[in-house]
Symmetry: C2
Subunit: 221 residues, 2 copies
């Protein structure tokens, strides 16, 4: 039986892959890459492609965001991966950022483990760490907590000094209005480590952006 | 003038350095490594040593935890680094984990920036991501928030489903009693990616450990 590796490929910069991730990608027989759009590009593939050997089999799997369709697609991906594992092939499943932070890999892993296959997970640089470095903005200092949340859960912000808001795409205005009302300073970062990366601090500039790969780092004044 | 690089070297496993971190360590004239104990070993140095060239100058700087003495030592470190920058030397300051998550580098960077030196920060694999991979334990799923905090701030846990508790050394019992009272499952991980690493789930086993490099990942039942 083959083994499944969940591999964090980091936020976008090809040089933010770890030595361990590269070694796993190089040695696996099959590399599975998720794609956010049907028939679309895979960001994870673009990040890792320089390290994928020519004779490696590549499977692109489309995972829609949420809902029943997502569950179906994850089960479909599991079945394709299981087929490879049964053939004794090692499989690397690539994940943007870290595999255990808001990732489709977590759902996939459940099936893999339920069926008794061997797995190993390789951590990756998270988007928020990469964005902090790019914006030169500390994430958390001293003995303060750090709250990380998707924009859909602004209600869970109490008065934490350090906050990271993920998935701000399409709700940028709502997030910024909330932060201003609550007395937070904020920095918007898009496409960290990729072409077109930007760090923005002014509301009017941020609201002009339409970018899926974007987060906001907020600090209470 | 030289440039200061803050370099995240990850949690302990030498293979969890990124390509970018290695390139910076290789090209800098001076590598500054923090040490938690006066005259003691530097974990950051041990992680990075294979990538430090023979003719690189190495400065070991002791930073005590907190208090006035820490401030003094950070200023002292700034002065030594400034001396090198003025000589036109590039300096890499190594940080365990990520430079912008609970790090001495953040305080040092203030001085460096106040004095107008050029800086660049290279993100690193955080301890909590490495521990999650080692324990095979997702950090956060779906649209839930993730709260990361030091053990000294247990009061800031409300009813977040996903929690990471850092700096549990010497207060393991207090943390576990709190988590059990609040209905959390927990996993204790020590020395992730280093010799003697352990993943423990039982209170009695955890309380036998005395390890500085340890964290707890907790999930509300």
């Amino acid at each position: 039986m083959g083994k499944l590796y969940g591999v964090g490929v980091g936020p976008g910069d090809k040089e933010l892959l770890t030595i361990k991730a590269i070694k796993v990608i190089e040695k696996c027989d099959v590399v599975v890459v998720p794609s956010a759009m049907a028939g679309g590009k895979s960001i994870a593939y673009e990040i890792a492609e320089d390290y994928i050997k020519k004779d490696t089999e590549i499977l692109i799997k489309h995972f829609p965001m949420g809902g029943e369709e997502q569950e179906e697609k994850i089960y479909e991906a599991f079945k394709s991966i299981e087929e490879k594992l049964k053939q004794g092939k090692d499989v690397a499943f690539l994940t943007i950022g870290d595999p255990f932070v808001y990732s489709t890999y977590i759902y996939l892993l459940k099936y893999i483990e339920e069926h008794g296959y061997e797995t190993e997970t390789i951590p990756g640089i998270t988007s928020f760490c990469a964005c902090a470095s790019l914006a030169n903005q500390p994430l958390v200092i001293g003995d303060e907590p750090l709250l990380i949340l998707p924009a859909s859960r602004l209600d869970s912000i109490k008065d934490e000094k350090y906050v990271v808001i993920m998935k701000v795409y399409k709700v940028e205005k709502q997030v910024i209005d909330f932060l201003e009302h609550k007395g937070y300073d904020y920095i918007y970062i898009k496409r960290a480590g990729r072409e077109g990366q930007k760090v923005l601090k002014h509301k009017e500039d941020i609201l002009k952006e339409k970018e899926y790969m974007s987060i906001i780092i907020a600090t209470k004044r």
